[in-house]
Amino acid sequence: MLRIRNLRCGYGNLEVVHGASLHVERGEIVGLIGANGAGKTSLLNAIMGLLPPREGSIELDGVSIARQPVWHGVAHSLVLVPEGRQLFSAMTVADNLLMGGYRNPDRDQAIAQALDRFPRLRERWRQPAGTLSGGEQQMLAIARALVARPRLLLLDEPSMGLAPLMVKEVFEVIAELRRKGVTVFLVEQNAMAAFGVTDRVYVLETGDIVMEGRPDDLLHNPEVKRAYLGKGFRNVWE
């Protein structure tokens, strides 16, 4: 569904992704883990068209989408939940969801479904998004993306800054998306949590994809253990 070949991108003289290749197949949930500054957000922004690639190709369903305007991807059901949520904080929850459905003619129905999934948002309907709690804001960010009816959903660190219970909720939502047939590309620093829902995982290190594998295999890879899982991970996992 999504195929990236030899992608390079960066800012000014600085190149932050040095020839990454990866693919995501229809119905899959694929993870991308990497340390701070590895270039994960830059990679997602390049896919969306926010950051123009310098080299390489990005294809959605076999059609090149590199250098396309961002709205074009959204119109083709490629949707990103950006890092840091990026809500319209002065606008109401209702209007944030409406904006999420800007390109979706069935937005009313999609909003109703999103509200069924996140009943908290219904209670906060007329409240400015900026006044929601961090967890509620993340829910709204995900709901806003879902209102666009994504076929391929990109998530940039959806668990960042959330309490364990909220993290669990976020990953439940991702698991549900699989059942609905939505393809997901998930960027996470919380590798443990990512391993729980993904079919395959890529590891990005300072702009290079250095590893790819099934979560089970990566889990036992000493490199991955050392770099991304930390000492205490066994206790958590077992």
Binding site: V70, W71, Q86, S89, M91, L98
Partner: protein, 293 residues
Amino acid sequence: MSQALQYAFSGVTMGAIYAVVAIGFNLVYSTTGILNFAQGEFVMLGGMIAVTYSRFMPLPVAIAAAVATTAAVAALIEAGFIRRLKRHTLLHMIIVTIGLSIVIREAALLIWDEKVRSLPFFTGTESSSVRVFGAAISPQTLWVLGTVFAIVAVLHVFFRFSLKGKAMRACSANPQAAMLCGINTSNMRTLTFAVSGALGALAGCVISPMTMSQYDMGTSLAIKGFAAAMLGGLGNPMAGVAGGLIVGLAEAFSVSVLPAAYKDAVAFALLLCALFVKPHGLFPERGSIAREA
């Protein structure tokens, strides 16, 4: 008393026009980050084009067509020129738009020469007037106030209730997030220019019977509209209305204490005072139009 009332009416009338220019400034600033000093030229264009059109068609049609034409010119300026400028700073764009206003003014001089023109009074004539508490007001004043009120009301409804209006607020609040929602932000910028062109042109038409239209009327309107926008708080469209009325009234009443020649300086004096006392305007932007008009 009736003298004061007379000043007040003329102040409110001019103030309403400054308010429209200020709204244009704020609209464009909040969605594009550009201070468009060609804003006053839209008022001039609206009046001049309508005068020309009115020779061939009935007045209401001529006005509508002039508004549409000016909106198209404004949209073209954005889509054909401003959009193509890469990486601009605020100061760059101020210089660019001042340059644009000079070009528009010179073009107007070529098309219409220096002659002062005006549209006929919408109702009644120059000499007909309505008496309010002893002050004589021209019916055209009511047209101006009514039109500006309608503009403000329509904008309010547009931003508050329509999908496009909300999308415009989204663009101003967070352009990147707006793109990620599928909003075509470049088109939104063009639309904002078109809307501010249309508003300016409409103001130019309703004011034309009272103050006349001339090719070089835009500059002082731009500056006073800017003063009004700054007074109200840059980026907050409706606050521009308050700013406009303050500038208009101050100007009108200044005539009673200062020689009339200083009238134009009043707006600047007011602007400078305001910037010293309240640098962010009386109603600071707080998220600009995103905050809700």
